[in-house]
Protein backbone atom coordinates (compact mmCIF):
# COMPACT_ATOMS: atom_id res chain seq x y z
CA UNK A 1 0.00 0.00 0.00
CA UNK A 2 1.32 3.40 -0.94
CA UNK A 3 0.82 6.47 1.14
CA UNK A 4 -1.23 9.05 -0.71
CA UNK A 5 0.60 12.33 -0.41
CA UNK A 6 -2.21 14.32 -1.94
CA UNK A 7 -3.82 14.70 1.50
CA UNK A 8 -1.21 17.31 2.35
CA UNK A 9 -3.39 19.78 0.52
CA UNK A 10 -6.46 19.16 2.75
CA UNK A 11 -7.78 21.68 5.25
CA UNK A 12 -5.83 21.99 8.50
CA UNK A 13 -7.66 20.11 11.27
CA UNK A 14 -5.15 20.41 14.13
CA UNK A 15 -2.56 23.12 14.45
CA UNK A 16 -0.33 22.95 17.53
CA UNK A 17 2.37 25.60 17.98
CA UNK A 18 5.03 25.66 20.68
CA UNK A 19 2.95 23.73 23.23
CA UNK A 20 4.55 23.60 26.68
CA UNK A 21 3.14 21.88 29.73
CA UNK A 22 4.31 21.67 33.32
CA UNK A 23 2.83 19.30 35.88
CA UNK A 24 1.98 20.82 39.27
CA UNK A 25 5.12 19.19 40.69
CA UNK A 26 7.26 21.28 38.33
CA UNK A 27 8.09 18.54 35.83
CA UNK A 28 7.95 19.82 32.25
CA UNK A 29 6.13 17.22 30.14
CA UNK A 30 6.00 19.15 26.85
CA UNK A 31 8.81 21.45 25.70
CA UNK A 32 7.47 23.38 22.76
CA UNK A 33 5.80 20.86 20.46
CA UNK A 34 4.62 21.73 16.94
CA UNK A 35 2.32 19.57 14.83
CA UNK A 36 -0.02 20.14 11.90
CA UNK A 37 -2.64 17.54 10.93
CA UNK A 38 -4.63 17.96 7.73
CA UNK A 39 -8.03 16.54 6.88
CA UNK A 40 -7.91 12.82 6.04
CA UNK A 41 -4.38 12.44 7.33
CA UNK A 42 -3.24 9.59 9.58
CA UNK A 43 -0.38 10.67 11.86
CA UNK A 44 1.32 8.06 14.03
CA UNK A 45 3.11 9.36 17.13
CA UNK A 46 5.85 7.10 18.49
CA UNK A 47 8.41 7.43 21.23
CA UNK A 48 9.72 5.88 24.44
CA UNK A 49 7.45 5.87 27.49
CA UNK A 50 7.56 9.15 29.33
CA UNK A 51 8.27 11.09 26.14
CA UNK A 52 5.02 13.03 26.48
CA UNK A 53 3.24 11.57 23.43
CA UNK A 54 0.06 10.60 25.30
CA UNK A 55 0.03 13.91 27.14
CA UNK A 56 0.41 15.72 23.84
CA UNK A 57 -2.56 14.14 22.06
CA UNK A 58 -4.66 14.47 25.20
CA UNK A 59 -4.24 18.24 24.94
CA UNK A 60 -6.14 18.14 21.62
CA UNK A 61 -9.46 17.47 23.38
CA UNK A 62 -8.51 19.31 26.58
CA UNK A 63 -8.15 16.25 28.79
CA UNK A 64 -4.79 17.85 29.64
CA UNK A 65 -4.23 21.58 29.91
CA UNK A 66 -1.09 23.39 28.78
CA UNK A 67 0.61 26.59 29.87
CA UNK A 68 2.32 27.96 26.76
CA UNK A 69 1.71 27.82 23.03
CA UNK A 70 -1.51 27.48 21.08
CA UNK A 71 -3.70 24.67 19.72
CA UNK A 72 -6.41 25.20 17.11
CA UNK A 73 -8.69 22.20 16.47
CA UNK A 74 -11.07 22.39 13.51
CA UNK A 75 -11.02 26.18 13.68
CA UNK A 76 -11.65 26.35 17.43
CA UNK A 77 -8.87 27.84 19.55
CA UNK A 78 -8.40 25.87 22.78
CA UNK A 79 -8.50 28.14 25.79
CA UNK A 80 -9.85 28.03 29.30
CA UNK A 81 -13.29 28.91 27.95
CA UNK A 82 -15.53 25.97 28.89
CA UNK A 83 -17.79 26.48 25.86
CA UNK A 84 -14.80 26.09 23.55
CA UNK A 85 -13.75 22.92 25.31
CA UNK A 86 -17.21 21.36 25.00
CA UNK A 87 -17.37 22.37 21.33
CA UNK A 88 -13.99 20.75 20.61
CA UNK A 89 -14.92 17.55 22.44
CA UNK A 90 -17.98 17.16 20.25
CA UNK A 91 -15.74 17.16 17.15
CA UNK A 92 -12.90 15.01 18.51
CA UNK A 93 -13.37 11.37 19.44
CA UNK A 94 -10.92 9.47 21.62
CA UNK A 95 -10.05 5.79 22.04
CA UNK A 96 -8.20 4.91 25.24
CA UNK A 97 -5.63 2.29 26.11
CA UNK A 98 -7.91 0.84 28.81
CA UNK A 99 -11.06 1.06 26.62
CA UNK A 100 -12.93 2.93 29.40
CA UNK A 101 -16.27 1.47 28.40
CA UNK A 102 -19.08 2.15 30.88
CA UNK A 103 -19.42 -1.21 32.67
CA UNK A 104 -22.91 -0.55 34.05
CA UNK A 105 -24.41 0.04 30.58
CA UNK A 106 -24.95 -2.45 27.76
CA UNK A 107 -22.86 -2.19 24.61
CA UNK A 108 -25.74 -0.46 22.83
CA UNK A 109 -26.29 1.98 25.72
CA UNK A 110 -22.56 2.79 25.67
CA UNK A 111 -23.03 3.97 22.10
CA UNK A 112 -26.33 5.83 22.54
CA UNK A 113 -25.60 7.70 25.80
CA UNK A 114 -23.72 10.68 24.40
CA UNK A 115 -25.69 11.27 21.16
CA UNK A 116 -28.96 11.30 23.11
CA UNK A 117 -27.69 13.45 25.98
CA UNK A 118 -25.36 15.83 24.15
CA UNK A 119 -26.74 16.02 20.62
CA UNK A 120 -30.34 15.63 21.88
CA UNK A 121 -31.23 13.31 19.03
CA UNK A 122 -34.26 10.99 19.15
CA UNK A 123 -33.47 7.70 20.84
CA UNK A 124 -34.86 5.36 18.15
CA UNK A 125 -32.78 7.00 15.44
CA UNK A 126 -29.63 6.93 17.59
CA UNK A 127 -30.16 3.24 18.33
CA UNK A 128 -30.51 2.44 14.65
CA UNK A 129 -27.29 4.28 13.90
CA UNK A 130 -25.54 2.56 16.85
CA UNK A 131 -26.46 -0.88 15.52
CA UNK A 132 -25.03 0.09 12.12
CA UNK A 133 -21.79 1.19 13.79
CA UNK A 134 -21.58 -2.08 15.71
CA UNK A 135 -22.05 -3.94 12.46
CA UNK A 136 -19.25 -1.90 10.94
CA UNK A 137 -16.82 -2.99 13.68
CA UNK A 138 -18.16 -6.56 13.50
CA UNK A 139 -19.90 -7.00 16.88
CA UNK A 140 -23.56 -6.28 16.20
CA UNK A 141 -24.69 -9.57 17.76
CA UNK A 142 -23.25 -8.46 21.15
CA UNK A 143 -25.30 -5.25 21.36
CA UNK A 144 -27.28 -6.22 24.47
CA UNK A 145 -24.36 -7.67 26.43
CA UNK A 146 -22.38 -5.81 29.07
CA UNK A 147 -18.75 -4.82 28.36
CA UNK A 148 -17.50 -7.23 31.03
CA UNK A 149 -18.80 -10.15 28.97
CA UNK A 150 -16.69 -9.28 25.91
CA UNK A 151 -13.05 -10.02 25.08
CA UNK A 152 -10.49 -7.22 25.15
CA UNK A 153 -10.42 -6.90 21.38
CA UNK A 154 -14.21 -6.76 21.21
CA UNK A 155 -14.27 -4.13 23.96
CA UNK A 156 -11.82 -1.92 22.10
CA UNK A 157 -13.88 -2.24 18.92
CA UNK A 158 -16.96 -1.18 20.91
CA UNK A 159 -14.94 1.78 22.21
CA UNK A 160 -14.10 2.79 18.63
CA UNK A 161 -17.77 2.49 17.66
CA UNK A 162 -18.69 4.57 20.70
CA UNK A 163 -16.38 7.39 19.71
CA UNK A 164 -17.79 7.23 16.17
CA UNK A 165 -21.34 7.53 17.51
CA UNK A 166 -20.77 11.26 18.01
CA UNK A 167 -19.76 11.56 14.33
CA UNK A 168 -16.42 13.21 15.11
CA UNK A 169 -14.27 14.87 12.45
CA UNK A 170 -11.05 13.74 14.18
CA UNK A 171 -10.22 10.52 16.07
CA UNK A 172 -7.44 10.31 18.66
CA UNK A 173 -6.05 6.87 19.62
CA UNK A 174 -4.04 6.64 22.85
CA UNK A 175 -2.13 3.32 22.58
CA UNK A 176 -5.28 1.45 21.52
CA UNK A 177 -3.65 -2.00 21.37
CA UNK A 178 -1.23 -1.86 24.31
CA UNK A 179 -3.62 -3.46 26.79
CA UNK A 180 -4.66 -6.27 24.44
CA UNK A 181 -3.56 -9.88 24.27
CA UNK A 182 -1.40 -10.33 21.14
CA UNK A 183 -3.99 -12.39 19.25
CA UNK A 184 -6.53 -9.57 19.55
CA UNK A 185 -4.33 -6.74 18.29
CA UNK A 186 -5.01 -7.46 14.63
CA UNK A 187 -8.82 -7.22 14.83
CA UNK A 188 -8.55 -3.72 16.31
CA UNK A 189 -5.90 -2.58 13.83
CA UNK A 190 -8.09 -3.83 10.98
CA UNK A 191 -10.94 -1.60 12.11
CA UNK A 192 -8.58 1.37 12.39
CA UNK A 193 -7.17 0.68 8.93
CA UNK A 194 -10.69 0.60 7.53
CA UNK A 195 -11.42 3.98 9.15
CA UNK A 196 -8.27 5.47 7.64
CA UNK A 197 -9.24 4.16 4.21
CA UNK A 198 -12.59 5.93 4.53
CA UNK A 199 -10.74 9.20 5.03
CA UNK A 200 -11.03 9.75 8.80
CA UNK A 201 -8.49 12.18 10.25
CA UNK A 202 -6.56 10.22 12.86
CA UNK A 203 -3.76 10.82 15.35
CA UNK A 204 -2.51 7.50 16.72
CA UNK A 205 -0.08 6.90 19.56
CA UNK A 206 1.13 3.34 19.06
CA UNK A 207 4.13 1.02 18.96
CA UNK A 208 2.70 -1.03 16.06
CA UNK A 209 5.34 -0.59 13.36
CA UNK A 210 3.41 -2.53 10.75
CA UNK A 211 0.33 -0.37 11.22
CA UNK A 212 2.47 2.77 10.95
CA UNK A 213 4.13 1.54 7.75
CA UNK A 214 0.89 0.52 6.08
CA UNK A 215 -1.54 3.21 7.19
CA UNK A 216 0.26 6.33 8.36
CA UNK A 217 0.95 9.31 6.14
CA UNK A 218 3.49 10.62 8.58
CA UNK A 219 5.32 9.30 11.62
CA UNK A 220 6.28 11.64 14.45
CA UNK A 221 8.92 10.59 16.97
CA UNK A 222 8.75 12.27 20.35
CA UNK A 223 11.36 12.13 23.12
CA UNK A 224 11.65 14.14 26.32
CA UNK A 225 8.63 16.26 25.50
CA UNK A 226 9.84 17.32 22.06
CA UNK A 227 9.32 16.27 18.46
CA UNK A 228 12.62 14.74 17.35
CA UNK A 229 11.74 13.66 13.85
CA UNK A 230 8.77 13.92 11.53
CA UNK A 231 8.81 11.96 8.26
CA UNK A 232 6.81 9.70 5.93
CA UNK A 233 6.91 6.12 7.26
CA UNK A 234 9.07 4.72 4.43
CA UNK A 235 11.76 7.23 5.17
CA UNK A 236 11.36 7.07 8.95
CA UNK A 237 11.71 3.31 9.25
CA UNK A 238 14.36 2.72 6.60
CA UNK A 239 16.44 5.85 6.86
CA UNK A 240 15.92 7.75 10.14
CA UNK A 241 17.81 11.04 10.26
CA UNK A 242 18.29 11.54 14.00
CA UNK A 243 20.37 9.59 16.49
CA UNK A 244 17.44 9.40 18.89
CA UNK A 245 15.21 7.86 16.19
CA UNK A 246 17.81 5.20 15.35
CA UNK A 247 18.17 4.35 19.01
CA UNK A 248 14.37 4.07 19.47
CA UNK A 249 13.92 1.92 16.37
CA UNK A 250 16.66 -0.44 17.45
CA UNK A 251 14.90 -0.84 20.82
CA UNK A 252 11.47 -1.73 19.43
CA UNK A 253 12.71 -3.88 16.55
Amino acid sequence: MTNPSSSASGAVMIEARGVEKWYPNGFQALRGVDLTVRQGEVVVVMGPSGSGKSTFIRTFNALEDFQKGSIVVDGITLSNDVRNIDAVRREVGMVFQQFNLFPHLTVLENLTLAPVLVRKRPKAEVERQARQLLERVGIHEQADKYPGQLSGGQQQRVAIARSLSMEPRILLFDEPTSALDPEMVQEVLAVMQELAREGMTMVVVTHEVRFARQVAHRVVLMADGQVVEEAPPDQFFTNPQHERSKQFLSQIA
Partner: protein, 401 residues
Protein backbone atom coordinates in the same frame (compact mmCIF):
# COMPACT_ATOMS: atom_id res chain seq x y z
CA UNK B 1 -35.08 -39.12 46.43
CA UNK B 2 -35.08 -38.09 50.09
CA UNK B 3 -33.78 -41.46 51.16
CA UNK B 4 -30.60 -41.02 49.18
CA UNK B 5 -30.11 -37.50 50.59
CA UNK B 6 -30.60 -38.30 54.25
CA UNK B 7 -27.73 -40.79 54.72
CA UNK B 8 -25.39 -38.42 52.84
CA UNK B 9 -26.52 -35.61 55.13
CA UNK B 10 -25.88 -37.76 58.17
CA UNK B 11 -22.45 -38.67 56.89
CA UNK B 12 -21.62 -35.03 56.36
CA UNK B 13 -22.79 -34.14 59.85
CA UNK B 14 -20.72 -36.97 61.26
CA UNK B 15 -17.67 -35.93 59.27
CA UNK B 16 -17.93 -32.31 60.33
CA UNK B 17 -19.00 -32.67 63.96
CA UNK B 18 -17.70 -36.06 65.10
CA UNK B 19 -14.53 -36.53 63.06
CA UNK B 20 -12.44 -37.50 66.10
CA UNK B 21 -12.99 -38.18 69.76
CA UNK B 22 -12.05 -34.60 70.73
CA UNK B 23 -14.33 -33.20 68.03
CA UNK B 24 -17.21 -35.28 69.34
CA UNK B 25 -16.58 -34.13 72.89
CA UNK B 26 -16.51 -30.45 71.88
CA UNK B 27 -19.69 -30.89 69.86
CA UNK B 28 -21.50 -32.53 72.78
CA UNK B 29 -20.37 -29.89 75.28
CA UNK B 30 -21.42 -27.02 72.99
CA UNK B 31 -24.71 -28.73 72.17
CA UNK B 32 -25.39 -29.19 75.86
CA UNK B 33 -24.62 -25.56 76.63
CA UNK B 34 -26.85 -24.37 73.77
CA UNK B 35 -29.73 -26.59 74.91
CA UNK B 36 -29.39 -25.40 78.50
CA UNK B 37 -29.36 -21.74 77.43
CA UNK B 38 -32.21 -22.13 74.96
CA UNK B 39 -34.25 -24.17 77.42
CA UNK B 40 -33.68 -21.61 80.14
CA UNK B 41 -34.77 -18.80 77.85
CA UNK B 42 -37.88 -20.68 76.72
CA UNK B 43 -38.80 -21.54 80.31
CA UNK B 44 -38.52 -17.88 81.23
CA UNK B 45 -40.38 -16.60 78.16
CA UNK B 46 -43.24 -19.10 78.45
CA UNK B 47 -43.78 -19.54 82.19
CA UNK B 48 -42.00 -16.86 84.21
CA UNK B 49 -42.22 -13.71 82.10
CA UNK B 50 -45.37 -11.66 82.55
CA UNK B 51 -46.29 -10.29 79.17
CA UNK B 52 -49.10 -8.19 80.57
CA UNK B 53 -46.70 -5.24 80.46
CA UNK B 54 -46.60 -5.56 76.67
CA UNK B 55 -50.31 -6.37 76.28
CA UNK B 56 -51.54 -3.42 78.30
CA UNK B 57 -49.15 -0.95 76.70
CA UNK B 58 -49.18 -2.20 73.11
CA UNK B 59 -50.79 1.00 71.81
CA UNK B 60 -48.27 3.11 73.72
CA UNK B 61 -45.37 1.15 72.22
CA UNK B 62 -46.85 1.46 68.75
CA UNK B 63 -47.83 5.13 68.54
CA UNK B 64 -47.22 6.79 71.92
CA UNK B 65 -49.84 9.34 72.97
CA UNK B 66 -51.31 9.73 69.50
CA UNK B 67 -54.98 10.76 70.05
CA UNK B 68 -57.25 7.72 70.11
CA UNK B 69 -59.93 9.23 67.89
CA UNK B 70 -57.34 10.05 65.20
CA UNK B 71 -55.66 6.67 65.08
CA UNK B 72 -57.74 5.62 62.07
CA UNK B 73 -55.30 7.75 60.05
CA UNK B 74 -52.44 5.51 61.06
CA UNK B 75 -54.48 2.40 60.23
CA UNK B 76 -55.21 3.87 56.82
CA UNK B 77 -51.51 4.60 56.29
CA UNK B 78 -50.57 1.05 57.31
CA UNK B 79 -53.13 -0.35 54.89
CA UNK B 80 -51.82 1.87 52.06
CA UNK B 81 -48.24 0.79 52.81
CA UNK B 82 -49.30 -2.85 52.77
CA UNK B 83 -51.08 -2.33 49.45
CA UNK B 84 -48.05 -0.62 47.88
CA UNK B 85 -45.75 -3.35 49.18
CA UNK B 86 -47.97 -6.11 47.80
CA UNK B 87 -48.27 -4.38 44.44
CA UNK B 88 -44.51 -3.79 44.06
CA UNK B 89 -43.66 -7.29 45.27
CA UNK B 90 -46.11 -8.90 42.87
CA UNK B 91 -44.97 -6.86 39.87
CA UNK B 92 -41.32 -7.68 40.56
CA UNK B 93 -41.88 -11.44 40.90
CA UNK B 94 -44.70 -12.11 38.46
CA UNK B 95 -46.24 -15.56 38.63
CA UNK B 96 -43.25 -17.27 40.19
CA UNK B 97 -43.21 -17.98 43.92
CA UNK B 98 -39.57 -18.66 44.85
CA UNK B 99 -38.82 -20.34 48.15
CA UNK B 100 -38.02 -17.01 49.87
CA UNK B 101 -41.42 -15.64 48.89
CA UNK B 102 -43.17 -18.72 50.24
CA UNK B 103 -41.25 -18.34 53.50
CA UNK B 104 -42.14 -14.64 53.76
CA UNK B 105 -45.81 -15.41 53.08
CA UNK B 106 -45.96 -18.07 55.77
CA UNK B 107 -44.17 -15.73 58.21
CA UNK B 108 -46.53 -12.82 57.50
CA UNK B 109 -49.65 -14.96 57.77
CA UNK B 110 -48.36 -16.59 60.95
CA UNK B 111 -47.53 -13.19 62.45
CA UNK B 112 -50.98 -11.84 61.58
CA UNK B 113 -52.60 -14.81 63.30
CA UNK B 114 -50.32 -15.19 66.30
CA UNK B 115 -49.35 -11.63 67.28
CA UNK B 116 -52.88 -10.27 67.89
CA UNK B 117 -53.76 -13.39 69.85
CA UNK B 118 -50.62 -13.05 71.94
CA UNK B 119 -51.35 -9.37 72.59
CA UNK B 120 -55.01 -10.28 73.35
CA UNK B 121 -56.29 -7.45 71.21
CA UNK B 122 -59.99 -6.81 70.82
CA UNK B 123 -61.66 -8.58 67.94
CA UNK B 124 -62.15 -5.33 66.01
CA UNK B 125 -58.41 -4.59 66.03
CA UNK B 126 -57.49 -8.21 65.31
CA UNK B 127 -59.76 -8.09 62.29
CA UNK B 128 -57.89 -4.98 61.04
CA UNK B 129 -54.56 -6.79 61.19
CA UNK B 130 -55.99 -9.76 59.35
CA UNK B 131 -57.48 -7.44 56.75
CA UNK B 132 -54.18 -5.61 56.20
CA UNK B 133 -52.24 -8.86 55.86
CA UNK B 134 -54.86 -10.24 53.47
CA UNK B 135 -54.60 -7.01 51.43
CA UNK B 136 -50.80 -7.34 51.17
CA UNK B 137 -50.78 -11.01 50.21
CA UNK B 138 -53.82 -10.68 47.97
CA UNK B 139 -52.24 -7.84 45.99
CA UNK B 140 -49.00 -9.79 45.79
CA UNK B 141 -50.91 -12.66 44.23
CA UNK B 142 -53.10 -10.51 42.00
CA UNK B 143 -50.32 -8.22 40.75
CA UNK B 144 -48.15 -11.24 40.06
CA UNK B 145 -50.91 -12.93 38.08
CA UNK B 146 -52.30 -10.04 36.07
CA UNK B 147 -49.55 -7.40 36.41
CA UNK B 148 -48.21 -8.03 32.89
CA UNK B 149 -51.53 -6.87 31.45
CA UNK B 150 -50.90 -3.35 32.77
CA UNK B 151 -49.82 -0.95 30.01
CA UNK B 152 -46.04 -0.42 29.91
CA UNK B 153 -46.40 3.31 30.67
CA UNK B 154 -48.28 2.58 33.88
CA UNK B 155 -45.67 0.13 35.06
CA UNK B 156 -42.90 2.64 34.51
CA UNK B 157 -44.59 5.27 36.68
CA UNK B 158 -45.55 2.87 39.45
CA UNK B 159 -42.39 3.32 41.55
CA UNK B 160 -43.50 6.95 41.94
CA UNK B 161 -46.19 5.67 44.31
CA UNK B 162 -43.54 5.43 47.04
CA UNK B 163 -42.52 9.12 47.28
CA UNK B 164 -46.17 10.12 46.90
CA UNK B 165 -47.13 7.69 49.64
CA UNK B 166 -44.41 9.11 51.86
CA UNK B 167 -45.75 12.65 51.48
CA UNK B 168 -49.31 11.43 52.01
CA UNK B 169 -48.15 9.54 55.09
CA UNK B 170 -46.60 12.70 56.53
CA UNK B 171 -49.92 14.52 56.02
CA UNK B 172 -51.88 11.64 57.56
CA UNK B 173 -49.57 11.55 60.58
CA UNK B 174 -49.24 15.25 61.28
CA UNK B 175 -52.54 16.54 59.93
CA UNK B 176 -53.36 19.36 57.55
CA UNK B 177 -55.44 19.37 54.34
CA UNK B 178 -58.58 19.33 56.44
CA UNK B 179 -57.30 16.77 58.94
CA UNK B 180 -56.95 17.74 62.58
CA UNK B 181 -53.34 18.62 63.42
CA UNK B 182 -51.55 16.21 65.75
CA UNK B 183 -48.55 17.85 67.39
CA UNK B 184 -45.22 16.02 66.94
CA UNK B 185 -44.83 15.92 70.72
CA UNK B 186 -47.79 13.53 70.78
CA UNK B 187 -46.13 11.08 68.40
CA UNK B 188 -44.30 8.27 70.12
CA UNK B 189 -43.12 4.71 70.19
CA UNK B 190 -42.51 2.84 66.97
CA UNK B 191 -44.28 5.61 65.02
CA UNK B 192 -41.83 8.28 66.17
CA UNK B 193 -38.83 6.00 65.64
CA UNK B 194 -39.93 5.21 62.07
CA UNK B 195 -40.80 8.82 61.19
CA UNK B 196 -37.47 10.09 62.51
CA UNK B 197 -35.33 7.42 60.91
CA UNK B 198 -37.10 7.43 57.53
CA UNK B 199 -36.92 11.24 57.35
CA UNK B 200 -33.22 11.21 58.22
CA UNK B 201 -32.43 8.31 55.87
CA UNK B 202 -34.18 9.92 52.90
CA UNK B 203 -32.56 13.32 53.38
CA UNK B 204 -29.08 12.32 54.53
CA UNK B 205 -28.50 10.33 51.35
CA UNK B 206 -28.60 13.18 48.79
CA UNK B 207 -26.83 15.41 51.30
CA UNK B 208 -24.10 12.80 51.78
CA UNK B 209 -23.64 12.39 48.02
CA UNK B 210 -23.33 16.17 47.62
CA UNK B 211 -20.75 16.32 50.44
CA UNK B 212 -18.74 13.45 48.94
CA UNK B 213 -18.68 15.19 45.56
CA UNK B 214 -17.76 18.45 47.28
CA UNK B 215 -14.84 16.77 49.02
CA UNK B 216 -13.48 15.65 45.64
CA UNK B 217 -14.20 18.95 43.93
CA UNK B 218 -11.43 21.02 42.35
CA UNK B 219 -12.86 24.23 43.80
CA UNK B 220 -10.93 24.86 47.03
CA UNK B 221 -13.81 26.58 48.85
CA UNK B 222 -16.19 23.68 48.18
CA UNK B 223 -13.55 21.09 49.02
CA UNK B 224 -12.46 22.62 52.29
CA UNK B 225 -16.04 23.39 53.30
CA UNK B 226 -16.99 19.74 52.82
CA UNK B 227 -13.89 18.46 54.62
CA UNK B 228 -14.49 20.82 57.53
CA UNK B 229 -18.14 19.81 57.84
CA UNK B 230 -17.48 16.06 57.59
CA UNK B 231 -14.59 16.09 60.04
CA UNK B 232 -16.41 18.32 62.54
CA UNK B 233 -19.52 16.11 62.57
CA UNK B 234 -17.51 12.90 62.73
CA UNK B 235 -15.48 14.29 65.59
CA UNK B 236 -18.49 14.94 67.83
CA UNK B 237 -20.66 12.35 69.57
CA UNK B 238 -24.27 12.32 68.35
CA UNK B 239 -25.67 12.92 71.82
CA UNK B 240 -23.79 16.23 72.20
CA UNK B 241 -25.03 17.33 68.78
CA UNK B 242 -28.59 16.42 69.76
CA UNK B 243 -28.39 18.51 72.93
CA UNK B 244 -26.70 21.29 70.99
CA UNK B 245 -29.46 21.18 68.38
CA UNK B 246 -32.18 21.37 71.05
CA UNK B 247 -30.60 24.39 72.70
CA UNK B 248 -28.85 26.34 70.01
CA UNK B 249 -31.56 26.36 67.33
CA UNK B 250 -33.85 28.17 69.75
CA UNK B 251 -31.25 30.94 70.17
CA UNK B 252 -30.16 31.18 66.56
CA UNK B 253 -33.56 31.26 64.90
CA UNK B 254 -36.04 33.92 65.99
CA UNK B 255 -39.24 33.00 67.82
CA UNK B 256 -41.55 30.84 65.80
CA UNK B 257 -39.04 29.91 63.12
CA UNK B 258 -37.18 27.31 65.13
CA UNK B 259 -38.65 23.90 64.32
CA UNK B 260 -40.44 21.83 66.90
CA UNK B 261 -38.27 19.73 69.26
CA UNK B 262 -39.06 16.56 67.32
CA UNK B 263 -38.06 18.12 64.01
CA UNK B 264 -34.94 19.67 65.52
CA UNK B 265 -33.86 16.17 66.48
CA UNK B 266 -34.75 14.86 63.01
CA UNK B 267 -32.59 17.51 61.35
CA UNK B 268 -29.67 16.83 63.69
CA UNK B 269 -29.94 13.11 62.87
CA UNK B 270 -29.99 13.97 59.17
CA UNK B 271 -26.95 16.23 59.27
CA UNK B 272 -25.11 13.75 61.47
CA UNK B 273 -25.74 10.75 59.21
CA UNK B 274 -24.93 12.77 56.08
CA UNK B 275 -21.28 13.10 57.14
CA UNK B 276 -20.94 9.32 57.48
CA UNK B 277 -22.83 8.62 54.26
CA UNK B 278 -20.48 11.10 52.55
CA UNK B 279 -17.49 9.00 53.60
CA UNK B 280 -19.16 5.80 52.34
CA UNK B 281 -19.94 7.46 49.00
CA UNK B 282 -16.40 8.84 48.80
CA UNK B 283 -15.01 5.33 49.01
CA UNK B 284 -17.36 4.40 46.18
CA UNK B 285 -16.21 7.35 44.09
CA UNK B 286 -12.59 6.38 44.68
CA UNK B 287 -13.36 2.91 43.30
CA UNK B 288 -14.43 4.29 39.91
CA UNK B 289 -11.38 4.54 37.61
CA UNK B 290 -10.41 8.03 36.43
CA UNK B 291 -10.79 6.86 32.84
CA UNK B 292 -14.57 6.69 33.25
CA UNK B 293 -14.84 10.43 33.78
CA UNK B 294 -12.32 11.07 31.00
CA UNK B 295 -14.23 8.88 28.55
CA UNK B 296 -17.51 10.61 29.39
CA UNK B 297 -15.92 14.06 29.04
CA UNK B 298 -14.21 13.07 25.79
CA UNK B 299 -17.65 12.15 24.42
CA UNK B 300 -18.73 15.72 25.12
CA UNK B 301 -20.78 15.12 28.28
CA UNK B 302 -20.71 18.08 30.68
CA UNK B 303 -19.50 17.27 34.22
CA UNK B 304 -22.99 17.04 35.84
CA UNK B 305 -24.25 14.61 33.20
CA UNK B 306 -21.04 12.59 33.36
CA UNK B 307 -21.50 12.31 37.13
CA UNK B 308 -25.18 11.36 36.96
CA UNK B 309 -25.01 8.88 34.10
CA UNK B 310 -21.51 7.41 34.36
CA UNK B 311 -19.68 7.94 37.66
CA UNK B 312 -22.40 7.94 40.34
CA UNK B 313 -24.23 4.76 39.21
CA UNK B 314 -20.96 2.86 39.58
CA UNK B 315 -19.84 4.60 42.76
CA UNK B 316 -23.16 4.17 44.56
CA UNK B 317 -23.24 0.47 43.78
CA UNK B 318 -19.87 0.07 45.49
CA UNK B 319 -20.95 2.30 48.38
CA UNK B 320 -24.33 0.61 48.87
CA UNK B 321 -23.43 -1.92 51.60
CA UNK B 322 -21.57 0.68 53.69
CA UNK B 323 -24.38 3.20 53.17
CA UNK B 324 -27.07 0.77 54.28
CA UNK B 325 -24.89 -0.10 57.27
CA UNK B 326 -24.99 3.61 58.07
CA UNK B 327 -28.78 3.65 57.73
CA UNK B 328 -29.04 0.74 60.18
CA UNK B 329 -26.81 2.58 62.65
CA UNK B 330 -28.99 5.65 62.19
CA UNK B 331 -32.13 3.64 62.98
CA UNK B 332 -30.54 2.40 66.19
CA UNK B 333 -29.21 5.87 67.04
CA UNK B 334 -32.79 7.14 67.28
CA UNK B 335 -32.84 5.54 70.75
CA UNK B 336 -30.72 8.50 71.85
CA UNK B 337 -33.82 10.66 71.39
CA UNK B 338 -35.11 9.24 74.67
CA UNK B 339 -32.19 11.02 76.39
CA UNK B 340 -33.40 14.42 75.18
CA UNK B 341 -36.89 13.68 76.46
CA UNK B 342 -38.62 12.42 73.31
CA UNK B 343 -40.86 9.37 73.54
CA UNK B 344 -39.35 7.14 70.85
CA UNK B 345 -39.43 3.38 71.40
CA UNK B 346 -36.83 3.51 74.17
CA UNK B 347 -38.45 6.62 75.65
CA UNK B 348 -41.83 4.88 75.85
CA UNK B 349 -40.14 1.82 77.32
CA UNK B 350 -38.56 3.94 80.05
CA UNK B 351 -41.89 5.53 81.01
CA UNK B 352 -43.54 2.12 81.06
CA UNK B 353 -40.82 0.68 83.28
CA UNK B 354 -41.12 3.67 85.60
CA UNK B 355 -44.81 2.87 86.13
CA UNK B 356 -45.14 1.19 89.57
CA UNK B 357 -47.66 -1.26 88.13
CA UNK B 358 -44.96 -2.82 85.96
CA UNK B 359 -42.02 -2.68 88.35
CA UNK B 360 -39.29 -5.22 87.62
CA UNK B 361 -40.57 -6.08 84.16
CA UNK B 362 -37.48 -4.69 82.41
CA UNK B 363 -36.52 -7.95 80.74
CA UNK B 364 -39.85 -8.29 78.95
CA UNK B 365 -39.75 -4.69 77.73
CA UNK B 366 -36.16 -4.79 76.54
CA UNK B 367 -36.76 -8.08 74.73
CA UNK B 368 -39.69 -6.51 72.89
CA UNK B 369 -37.50 -3.56 71.93
CA UNK B 370 -34.75 -5.83 70.67
CA UNK B 371 -37.21 -7.82 68.54
CA UNK B 372 -38.79 -4.69 67.06
CA UNK B 373 -35.43 -3.13 66.18
CA UNK B 374 -34.18 -6.42 64.79
CA UNK B 375 -37.21 -6.61 62.49
CA UNK B 376 -36.64 -3.07 61.15
CA UNK B 377 -32.91 -3.60 60.60
CA UNK B 378 -33.46 -7.00 58.99
CA UNK B 379 -35.92 -5.40 56.57
CA UNK B 380 -33.32 -2.73 55.65
CA UNK B 381 -30.64 -5.36 55.20
CA UNK B 382 -32.82 -7.59 53.01
CA UNK B 383 -33.84 -4.61 50.89
CA UNK B 384 -30.23 -3.61 50.35
CA UNK B 385 -29.22 -7.14 49.35
CA UNK B 386 -32.07 -7.33 46.85
CA UNK B 387 -31.01 -3.96 45.43
CA UNK B 388 -27.38 -5.10 45.16
CA UNK B 389 -28.39 -8.13 43.11
CA UNK B 390 -30.54 -6.02 40.83
CA UNK B 391 -27.83 -3.39 40.31
CA UNK B 392 -25.13 -5.90 39.41
CA UNK B 393 -24.93 -5.97 35.59
CA UNK B 394 -23.75 -9.57 35.52
CA UNK B 395 -26.67 -11.01 37.46
CA UNK B 396 -28.94 -8.67 35.50
CA UNK B 397 -27.89 -10.03 32.13
CA UNK B 398 -28.09 -13.57 33.47
CA UNK B 399 -31.68 -12.87 34.47
CA UNK B 400 -32.45 -11.36 31.07
CA UNK B 401 -30.88 -14.18 29.09
Amino acid sequence: MERSVTPAGWQRLRRELFASRTDGLITLVLLGALLALGGGFLRWALFQAEWAVVRVNSTLFAVGRYPLDQQWRLWLLTALLAAATGLTWGLLRGRSWPRNDQLATVLLAGLALAAPLFLQLSLAIQARWWGITALLLGLRWGAGRWGDRLPQGWRRWLPLQWPLLYLLGMVLISGGLGLMAVRPSDWGGLLLTLVQSSFAILLCFPLGVALALGRRSELPLLRWGSVLYIEFIRGAPLITLLFLGQNILGFVLPGGLAPDRVWRAAWVLTFFAAAYVAEAVRSGLAAVPRGQMEAARALGLPVPQALIHVVLPQALRVALPATVGQFITLLQDTTLLSLIGLLDLLGVARTVMANPAFLGKNAEVYLLLAVLFWCCCAALGLGSRALETRLNPNTLSAARA
